[in-house]
Amino acid sequence: MLNNITMGQYYPVDSPVHRLDPRMKLVLAIAFIVAVFLAHSFVGYIVLLAFLIFACRLSHVPFKLLLKGLRPLRMIVLLTFLLNLFFTPGEDLWVSFWIVRIYREGVLQAVFYSLRLVFLVAGTSLLTLTTSPISLADGIENLLSPLKVIHFPAHELAMMMTIALRFIPTLLEETDKIMKAQMARGADFESGNLLVRARAMVPLLVPLFVSAFRRAGDLAMAMESRCYHGGEGRTRLRVLKTTRNDWIALLIVAALLGLIILEGIFLKGVLF
């Protein structure tokens, strides 16, 4: 019933990219996003594409999976494409009928901006595909920890993220079980109009909430009985360490960023 929902999109294999420090990967992902926004021509895009393919190869993640991550965004990409196509004014008129005017500039811009979206999603997907949610939360906590000076709850935030992620499969399983138990008592979740169906959810939602609160209470108790008292003075089992590979990765992405900046300076307006 609910067993075909996979959590997150982490692709669990071993690769140089998977082994990178999550903090470094986060920084690199941000640098990549910056690079995407700085690219001003299709030449820049070719460089970005080359980098993406290289990183994807290195991470042993099938390229198909990376493209699958784009699926939920296809409507937005399409919308971006159409809006730019129809509403970009220019000089070189290509198509004209009724009230529709399509200019050469519009076509280029439509392709350009849609590709930008594709690059953004593909780049960040590579991050989530190669980093487990837990280490991602660890990395975020670590990167945000300087903000603790201004009382930003970095540790609490990361802990909440980790717990929420941890409990999604548990609650799904629970939902499945309660659903079956109520169906065994003749409940019907599938037929009827919207109101009937909404009401049919009550026997499912009440036990689910009750059990979620119960679990929360149990977990809090279990954490406290093991002396958890917030992030203060807490050490970690897995200490994040930057290795030589992390610095090499940083160099590569820095080079990419450099190339894109150079392209911005020398090729501005060439293909556009």
Binding site: N3, E174, K177, I178, K180, A181, Q182, M183, A184, R185, G186, A187, D188, V202, P203, V206, P207, V210, S211
Partner: protein, 295 residues
């Protein structure tokens, strides 16, 4: 009402890398009026099997026949069938949701579309079956009851549909000895007085020794043996190979036999063991008495 399972196979996560075979070519028949105990180690497929028995899971292959009719056939009203085969899940108290005990028990009969009077009489009947006083508990919130009481309310919720077959998955798990005894007594009465066919999944060999008329032993998704408790519990090696023990009384009996006590090999109930031991003891004191030396 008879249930026949034919070549039932069930795989979880079919077609993916995590595919696991939970049931592998299971064949069994459950006759009218039986009290079946399904026993097996964790992960042997017991829970998957009982969910098939009332059509909550679809078999990967094979059939379940209810009175000769295929449960997963095209024109079968599965909702109606589910009400004739009541299934009580593990930890059923987690399915309670209504404001009052009576309303929660009425959920099943209400879904059956019964009249108000009928629903009310069903609720009274079900509460009586599980030994909960109607006047005292019907208007209480189910969430303020003790664990054992909540479980009995949940079981009443299934009994209120008056199923002719009652399936229970680990009904005594996590209860204290008194709560456990209450549930078992209740099942004994249901089976004896109301003539309900009962299928019970359990880890506890002592529970099975007390109630079951026939045992089905499962291991790794297969039925490895079936027979009366007396036949099954006498074969300690077979049980051990399925990762199971035997009731305390059977273990004690075996240990005593090894010490040279003259006892039958197939005792498994505390009462019958007690009787045999008393008889031996009496015989011994009688013979000792003849020789004239006191104890």
């Amino acid at each position: 009402m008879s249930i026949e399972v034919r070549h039932l196979t069930h795989c979880y996560a079919e077609g993916s890398a995590m595919r696991t075979v939970a049931l592998d070519d299971v064949n069994l028949t459950i006759g009218d009026g039986e009290f079946i105990g399904i026993i097996g180690h964790t992960g042997s497929g017991k829970s998957t099997l009982v969910q098939h028995l009332n059509g909550l899971l679809k078999p990967s292959s094979g059939q379940i026949l209810i009175d000769g009719e295929d449960l997963n056939g095209e024109h079968v009203n599965r909702r109606a069938l589910r009400q004739r085969i009541g299934l009580v899940f593990q930890y059923p108290e987690y399915q309670l949701f209504e404001e009052t005990v009576a309303k929660d028990i009425a959920f099943g009969p209400k879904n059956q579309g019964l009249s108000k009077e009928e629903i009310d009489s069903r609720v009274r009947y079900a509460m009586e079956c599980v030994h909960l006083d109607y006047d005292k508990y019907s208007e209480r919130s189910p969430f303020e009851l003790s664990g054992g009481q909540m479980r009995r309310v949940a079981i009443a919720g299934v009994l209120a549909m008056k199923p002719s077959v009652l399936i229970l998955d680990e009904p005594t798990a996590g209860l204290d000895p008194r709560g456990r005894d209450r549930i078992l007594t209740m099942l004994e009465e249901l089976h004896g007085r109301e003539n309900v066919t009962v299928v019970m999944v359990s880890h506890s060999m002592d529970d099975m020794a007390r109630l079951a008329t026939r045992l089905i032993v499962m291991a790794e998704g297969k039925v490895v043996a079936t027979g009366t408790p007396r036949e099954m519990f006498a074969q300690e090696e077979l049980m051990a190979s399925a990762g199971l023990g035997v009731p305390d009384a059977a273990r004690l009996c075996r240990a005593l036999r090894e010490k040279g006590f003259d006892l039958p090999a197939d005792l498994y109930r505390p009462e019958e063991l007690k009787e045999h031991l008393l008889r031996l003891w009496k015989a011994k004191t009688a013979s000792v008495g003849k020789e004239g030396s006191p104890c």
